[in-house]
Symmetry: C2
Subunit: 396 residues, 2 copies
């Protein structure tokens, strides 16, 4: 039935070690005594686990802290420089790579843009970026602990890229390619899922258990953080809310369906509307429209507002479906926050059920362009920390 492992003292130690590490990570600097009393473990147990973590270089001792009327405590800190993680946001016409420490602080960053490259050409750019980041990595006990790539497409449970329509990719096993080349753990993830994870770990979503991240770019993808963890569905295909019908009998979408949300509320939708207006052809992209809106073009501003309204309709659905604590709007459309915000919020405060609106927060991305890259970096970090704790527990 369930695939649960059996329970034994290894599991106990791993669990407690993880509790202690988390406590130190999120409450540092902190003493052994405080960890013990706050986590609820015995002082001796904490001491022993702390010694393990010190040996593994995952934490370190700083000088003594303030006394509170007795012996001064030795303060413990999470060793965020114990290793580094590489996160790549592979977009339709750009590639953003970051090298972060274990706390998601960016150490090196590299962005390139391109147009109409095929898979092989992009692969080369990808290798170049990764190798640049690898070279920039400082000395550390664990080195680069993993590489993650976020892609604008459907990724299955084995990290195969099944379909990336805007890149024109089908069935690409990038994971294997990277694993063979670099020989470190590789993670491939859908861009929206990664963005959600990024915001959850390092951005606007830090304090919430149920966070829905709406990646509004050329299309719309959604990442679902439910009960503090990423929900991926049976095969990894969840979050295709861009193809949720919000207009039965509406416009045909290339997905085969009609009235899809992303036909009304994405960058693509915005640009298509703008094309009907009388504006210069070199302004007919998001950057151009933003420029026009900045210069006070009322027609264009009205377009943004309409898009905000349609975004609101879909987000309303999200609220009714998930009852989340937070909805985060990210990706390229998020830069237009100021023209989207009002119509979006109006739609929601008018139409969302009253009891859903308590404790609900609607935010725009905090990490901006970096949500996805930081998100995939975070996957590797998470993985590294849990595996590292497990292995060291088992081998000692």
């Amino acid at each position: 039935m369930s695939t649960h492992q059996t329970w034994n003292h290894h599991v106990v130690k791993k669990g407690n070690k993880s509790l202690v590490l988390d406590k130190i990570k999120y409450n540092s600097p902190i003493s052994r005594a405080s960890v013990a009393s706050q986590v609820g473990l015995n002082k001796g147990t904490v001491s022993s686990l702390v010694n393990d973590l010190l040996e593994e270089h995952l934490i370190y001792e700083s000088g003594p802290g303030e006394s509170s009327g007795g012996r001064r405590p030795v303060m413990l800190l999470f060793n965020e420089k114990a290793g580094y993680s590489i996160g790549i946001d592979l977009g339709v016409n750009y590639l953003l790579g970051v090298l972060t420490d274990l706390n998601g602080n960016i150490h090196t960053e590299k962005q390139i843009t391109f147009k109409n490259l095929n898979y092989e050409e992009i692969e080369i750019k990808l290798f170049e970026t990764i190798e640049y980041l690898l070279k920039s990595t400082p000395e550390s006990p664990h080195g680069v602990i993993g590489i993650g790539v976020g892609v604008p497409g459907i990724v299955d449970k084995d990290d195969n890229i099944l379909l990336a329509p805007n890149l024109n990719w089908r069935n690409i096993n990038l994971k294997e390619v990277l694993e063979e080349r670099y020989n470190i753990p590789i993670i491939i993830e859908n861009e929206a899922n990664a963005g959600a994870y990024g915001e959850k770990n390092f951005g606007a979503g830090k304090d919430f258990e149920n966070v829905i991240y709406v990646s509004a770019g050329i299309g719309i993808g959604v990442g679902l953080i439910l009960n503090d963890s990423l929900y991926k569905g049976s095969n990894g295909f969840s979050g295709e809310l861009g193809h949720m019908t919000i207009q039965a009998g509406g416009a045909k979408c290339r997905c085969g369906n009609e009235g899809c949300w992303e036909l009304y509320a994405s960058e693509q939708a915005l640009v298509r509307q703008a094309e009907k207006l009388d504006i210069p052809s070199d302004m007919q992209d998001l950057e151009g429209l933003v420029t026009l809106a900045e210069s006070g073009n009322d027609e264009i501003i009205a377009l943004f507002e309409q898009t905000g309204d349609y975004l609101g309709i879909g987000i309303n659905n999200i609220i009714n479906i998930f009852n989340p604590q937070q909805v985060i709007i990210g990706n390229r459309l998020a830069y237009s926050e100021k023209w989207l915000k009002d119509s979006l919020n109006k739609r929601i405060s008018n139409q969302a059920l009253w009891f859903q609106q308590n404790d609900l927060q609607i935010d725009f991305s905090e990490l901006s362009t970096r949500s996805t890259a930081l998100g995939v970096a975070a996957f590797s970090i998470e993985n590294f920390l849990s595996v590292s704790i497990q292995q060291d527990t088992a081998t000692e």
Copy 2:
């Protein structure tokens, strides 16, 4: 940060005991040796845990089984008669109560119907039903282990009924009332959540991790089983998919929103359409329409088919959102399966994304009218089993 308990020996024992009990429950009859090898625990450990479970009367030994070339095994069985659970489905104009054993087998059942009763009057009916079921309970080691009530409304995390529009209830603390009167564990749950849990535990959803249960009655509510457990959202208000917009700018709903799914795909929607046709007024309810459809009335059959199509639109959204293994359609509209099925399936096979359609199953309720009642009964059982294992572990 996380509210995780610390890990110690009790947790280990509880976990393993639960693994053993589950193994026996779902694979009985089974020997100690088989449990050990299948679960991955040591023979001695299993023996000791089995002895505990025997003492608690949660399992029992039957005679010896078949030999496979050596000593004949002693077969173990889950003691489904160790206790009983009461589940009540409190509908808008009916009340269905069941008394089940720990495997969800119905021992006693009682249904009453009524019309336009206020809260106090329904409360009396409820007490009568519960007391009837209590009296019918056979002797057993643990007696009645809990009472669950499923209601057509919004229930918060403290089991308060915030709003039940069709009953005209607001802010009713039924849990407290029942706890004081009967002094056993009480669970109040939304009808769709309960239905989902019922189908997951005893019905069509047994074998799947991600199951979405669409309760299509007067309105539409949805219960979400994600990663094998019920997802309730931050405050318990998830699954309000009846108020998902599928027609932007569409008909006004009393919820304040427009174009809500349940305006197009519920019993209410069907009846409202039928009222426009030339049919006798005493036939203008679901039962009447079914009768007309049975007699071959094409106009009415077309109405059902249209409803099936609209159901398909929403279910399509569900598939895109959750990538579930299974969608179950339950509640009153499910009885009209034969007229809904074709148009619904057509909508989905035409429009759902191809990769979502693999490993996807769309079923109608297996438990029929009893999904909700059995679901709330299952909550109590689940609770009883886990608490019982915990306590006995702690007190020994």
